[in-house]
């Protein structure tokens, strides 16, 4: 029955209708999502939405109440998990172990031979940019460098599936750029990558696809450009040649106003023509644009919408 739909392409990670309740909290509630091979998908949701539970479930660390998780068409098991690279939300490394020794150790646990693990560890430490600290204890490294080591640990066995819980949290722009490049490379090489993040600008830059969840349920999924285009709201951005003093938009919510420029969120069905006319009437305009909302605004709209809808339930 579950294997009946054989005609459907099942490559990559497929999560089907999973649910998990902890006591009175329904952490995940019938969530379905897919990360095909080569896809790089941002996993978004407010705190407590069920992202970490979902990621842990893929790693076999959550006993699900229902649902299935498969990889390339077969249910995920211990053998499959050897092919997964995992970066937990709270970093996890042995503080009093040397950097390279630690990466080699995790390579060995993933089934690599000693020499293989050594070579892969050297490669990845170089790639994440901490090869000069290979013989330092992990606890001697800065938080950002520890995070680079954590990524090396997740990548040491060249996994086909990367599950990264908040990989960018706490990284400086240079380190974030380095990590972004590595993650994108892995996806290009055919791995499935699912990563969660609260840094929506980074997500927008890095990936084309997102999955947004709230309250343990799927809220939206698809290409960011499609989601933005499909949004009924619009963003009006205007810049005047000279300060305009006070200005009140005809409709919508003022997001930002500093006298010289303004950003207004226009609600669904708003009259765009009169909104533009209203802005122009305030003074000579040098720039004006009406565009779909950015990911951050889209996210806020989607999530707030679902949370409001959840209240009576």
């Amino acid at each position: 029955m579950t294997n009946g739909s054989s005609s459907v392409a099942t490559d990559g990670l497929v999560i089907t209708d999973i649910a998990k309740r902890y006591g009175s909290v329904q952490a995940v509630d019938g969530l379905t999502l897919a990360v095909p091979r080569g896809a790089l998908i941002g996993f978004l949701g407010p705190n407590g939405a069920g992202k970490t539970t979902t990621m842990r479930a893929v790693m076999g660390m959550v006993r699900l109440d229902r649902g299935t998780i498969s990889w390339d068409g077969t249910t995920v098991d211990d053998g499959t998990r050897r092919r997964v690279g995992y970066m937990p939300q709270e970093r996890g490394l042995y503080a009093r172990m040397k950097v390279k020794e630690q990466v080699v150790y995790f390579g060995r646990l993933a089934g690599l031979s000693k020499s293989e693990a050594n070579a892969r560890a050297e490669h990845w430490l170089d790639r994440v940019g901490v090869s000069d600290r290979a013989d330092s204890l992990v606890q001697e490294l800065s938080g950002g460098n520890q995070q680079r080591v954590q990524l090396a640990v997740a990548l040491v066995h060249d996994p086909d599936l990367l599950i990264l819980d908040e990989p960018f949290a706490g990284l400086d722009p240079v380190a974030a750029e380095n990590m972004r490049g590595i993650i994108a490379d892995r996806a290009e090489a055919g791995a499935s990558v699912l990563f969660s993040s609260h840094q929506l600008d980074l997500v927008e830059d890095l990936c084309e696809q997102v999955v947004i969840i709230a309250g343990g349920r799927l809220v939206a999924t698809g290409a960011i450009s499609d989601l933005r285009a499909a949004s009924p709201t619009r963003l009006l951005r205007v810049r005047w040649a000279a300060p305009v003093g006070r200005w009140q938009p005809l409709a919508g919510t003022m997001l930002r106003f500093d006298g010289h420029s303004a950003e207004v969120e226009l609600p669904a069905g708003a009259d765009v023509q009169s909104a533009i006319a209203n802005a122009v009437s305030a003074g000579p305009v040098t720039e004006i644009a009406v565009e779909p909302p950015g990911l951050a605004d889209l996210f806020a709209d989607l999530v707030i919408g679902t949370e409001a809808a959840e209240v009576p339930a």
């Binding site: 842990r56 660390m61 959550v62 709270e90 970093r91 996890g92 490394l93 060995r108 646990l109 997740a154």
Partner: protein
């Protein structure tokens, strides 16, 4: 896989300063203790003394110069009071009196009196017509065999010491290595490295590898300590350890290995229930308590072999790792009882692995507050083992 984990435990723990320091201290301390006993007990080095003899005492120069195991005398003949006063000699002997400058040296005083007495006995025997041979026969020592009702024969004291050392050492080692085990589990949990570990391996593999690795280190440390003990005893040749005591050493090792398997698992389980090192002390109580009970039974029964608490406790897995060595070193445990007690302990390890494994795999991914026993046991959200 399990070996990869065990190897990491051996390498990182074995390289730690704490482990190396404790092992070195134990090794050196045992040798030092034996050497100290030897020097305090006198050893073979006899003390040098100088005996001044006047012309009147000249007949005894020969016998007095012989010395014994405690004293190595130098004789100054033709001495007088002036030599005594300026410290040339320790004592002045004139055949009838011993003259001291200050209070007498008791050891030297006894020695001279004994030599003089022996010389007098020989002279009087000759006067009575007895030759040296007859005299020797007259003073031939009478050998009395020593029999003890407790069956220990002459080994009893050594056996008592061996029993006490075995029980106390096992107690201490189990406590120390149990704590190491717990600290290791808490370290993995508090540093969150456990999440990365469990993404690749199962909790049972992790637990097994840790027990194996620490077990190898613990036995290694024990062997080093035993080698120290043997070297120490070899330096002090006067203490003869009966072969019966050495025969219990392999049994002690087997008991320790099984006891370690049992207690390390228990300590791992209680360690998995807390997330911070600060909570370790209170968390370890349930595992530490039975060990302390065993220790108190052992210590309080040292003076009274055959104590029923020891007999019963040597079969209960929580106390047998400590009480079994006590009874075997004492030599009052029949072979079938040893076999039965070891079998019970071995089977209990499997029971403990089930029980502790259940708690361990539930508690590992729970962070924050301490996991309650009820939660850990009900085990609803456990990781698959």
């Amino acid at each position: 896989m399990i070996w990869t984990i065990a190897t990491r435990e051996v390498v990182t723990r074995g390289r730690s300063k704490g482990f190396l320091a404790i092992t070195a201290i134990l090794f050196v301390a045992l040798i030092a203790a034996a050497v100290a006993i030897r020097f305090l007990g006198g050893g073979d080095d006899a003390r040098s003394v100088t005996i001044g003899i006047t012309r009147d005492g000249a007949a005894l120069v020969g016998p007095l110069a012989v010395g014994d195991e405690d004293l190595d005398p130098t004789i100054v003949t033709g001495a007088d009071v002036a030599d005594l006063e300026n410290g040339e000699v320790d004592v002045l002997f004139d055949g009838a009196a011993l003259t001291w400058d200050g209070s007498p040296d008791r050891g030297l005083d006894d020695y001279i009196r004994r030599v003089v007495q022996e010389a007098a006995v020989t002279d009087r025997a000759a006067a009575a017509g007895l030759g040296v041979t007859e005299l020797g026969a007259l003073f031939e020592p009478v050998e009395l065999e020593e029999v003890r009702l407790d069956g220990g024969a002459e080994e009893s004291d050594i056996r008592f010491a061996a029993a006490a050392v075995s029980a106390i050492a096992t107690f201490m080692l189990l406590q120390v290595w149990g704590s190491f085990m717990m600290m290791g589990v808490i370290e993995e949990k508090s540093s969150k490295v456990i999440e990365v570990l469990l993404s690749q391996i199962r909790p049972a593999t992790l637990l097994g590898g840790k027990i194996l690795g620490l077990g190898i280190l613990a036995v290694g440390q024990m062997l080093i300590v035993v080698i120290g003990l043997v070297i120490g005893l070899a330096l002090v040749q006067d203490i003869d350890v009966p072969s019966g005591v050495w025969a219990t050493a392999p049994l002690l090792l087997v008991t320790f290995v099984l006891g370690f398997g049992f207690y390390a698992t228990a300590f791992a389980a209680v360690g998995s229930m807390v997330s911070r090192q600060e909570d370790a002390t209170s968390a370890q109580l349930p595992a530490m308590l039975p060990l302390f009970i065993a220790y108190f039974i052992a210590v309080s029964s040292l003076g009274s072999p055959g104590n029923p608490a020891v007999t019963i406790g040597s079969f209960i897995p929580f106390t047998s790792p400590v009480l079994l060595p006590l009874r075997t070193a004492n030599g009052d445990m029949p072979g079938w009882q040893v076999a039965l007690a070891l079998a019970i302990l071995a089977v209990s390890i499997f029971a403990m692995l089930q029980l502790a494994g259940r708690i361990y795999r539930y508690s590992l991914l729970r962070s924050g507050a301490r996991v309650s026993w009820g939660e850990a046991w009900r085990n609803r959200n456990a990781v698959d083992l």
